[in-house]
Amino acid sequence: MPKCMIDGKEVEFTAGENLVKVAKRAGVEIPVFCYHPGLSVVAQCRMCYVEVEKMPKLQTACSTMATEGMVVKTNSENVKKGRAGTMEFLLLNHPLDCPICDKAGECDLQDNSYGYGSAYMRGSEERRTYVDVNMGPVIQKNMNRCIHCTRCIRFGDEIAGIHEMVAIKRGNDIDITTIDGKTLQTEYAGNYSDICPTGSLTLKDFRFKKRAWMLKKTTTVCEGCSKGCNMEIQHEGDVIYRCVPLENLDVNRYWMCDEGRFNYQHTQDPTRIIEPKVKAEGGWKTISWEDGILGIKEEIDGQKPTFLVGSDLTQEELTHIKEYIALQHPGATIQHFGTPGLTSTQQDGALDQILRMKSKTSNLNGAEKLGIAPLMNDTIKADTVVVMSAGRAKLPKINAKRVIAVGVYLEGDASQFDMILPGLAFSEKDGTIVNHQGIEQKLKRAVLPRGKCKSLSEVLMLLTNKKARVGANP
């Protein structure tokens, strides 16, 4: 393999790798704004200056490919001067908004200014200001903070497939905006906020909710569709504030769709049923867990109810359900449901050319691997039906005398049920899900269960016991 020297360290590289990537492997951080590993290289922020031996001027590391025997200095006096000059230019018009800005704490401009810029400003001119256009329900724009890295324009062109962001006017009047001031059309608009190196494009959903440094981070997997995008749940005090994608080149690369990004909201919906409930005259009656478990046992013990399991449950939960049925109700039918009109992984496919899949549940592949039959026609007719799902699977039409539900349901979904035991949502449990490629990925608990929710495995354990002895919550 060819080798080059970066700051005195010898690094191997493959042909065509740029210096930012090679330096990162050598443990040398080169500051960047416009460069993003998932986007094309434009080298227009001029922040990644490095000195290459035998080249007369400073080179931009993002657009310079490593070559055999190249000697690179990333920390020489010349480089430091170049970076400081770039920082000074970038900050000429950047407002001192950090106390207000949602990006503060995870802002590239803040970090690089602190690391490579000057603490003082020489200019005294007024900063230029803009009137911002409405960018739609996802993104809040603040053009004053923009440093014209054009990451958003390139993201739209190259990843989202919509050329909707443009740079109009030139020079000092440059304005990064949507064509004709329209709202954003793409289903991947949240990524604009992730890739923006400043607080110019921020999430409306997260606006002023928390500062970035206050959030705890849990690495998990999105349950929005069978793609299984890697993401980070950012939460504090058992409240989820936002989800951001994590890099996984095999699955989602660097991106995530808005549906998955805001999917966490249903777990904190005020109408989510978080206590055991039974249908009574004129609405729902809250009951204790003992009563709930005993009530279910009364109805299904010794019988063969039909089990409907959502394909949004984890492998562990589905295995437990299968074992429970084999032990308690041998011969009972078990069918999985999830997306209307989609019964097998063969029918599953890409919804667009980026990430989204047709199957709107995360573990369709896993349910099939466990040999659970799908529910055809999206309607079921049976005597007693037990529905178990984690809130993402779309409920079929149920024609039955008694319907018992375990899992995550909003009050709106619950009209078909006679009894509900609350279960855990994807952010509240550990488990394994298998995505459409057959990659097994781990869900990780980020927050504690809401209300009196119990895990499905615990419910099954209580149902298997002769007496319903319910321990302390949760």
């Binding site: 106390p99 207000i100 002023f208 928390k210 500062r211 440094w213 206050m214």
Partner: protein, 148 residues
Amino acid sequence: MLAQRKPGILNRFYLIEIVRGLWITLRNFLFHEKVTLQFPEQRRDYSPRYRGQHYIKTVNEVENCTACMLCPTVCPAECIHIVAGEREDKEKYPIKFEIDILRCCFCGMCEEACPKDAIKLSNIYEMSQEHREVYTKDFLLEQRGNKK
């Protein structure tokens, strides 16, 4: 072991020592300036750096605070609770700004961290209450003990 000194007969009587001690008391009582104050009527001037009761500085009746959350971040007692919001004349402002004064240790780090010169500790040191109350935003916005 310490060598024990046997006091003489006069010293054993302690009379001289008692008179000497009482003379110090009498001297301070008669000839020295008094260090105590008649508190409610007379008050001591504190240093302008004294860290007393909190207030949020206002300019033209608009609070300086932009709810940047640096003070709850730096607060070692975790006694500041802020909820940020947006209104027409100000992009970000605190909807709720509460200081749980019973937890506060008056370290003054909030004042030091504040980029907007908003939260300040005044010279007011009389803060006893009959109820366990937190300082609300309305209370903090009253400019009492303003330091300028």
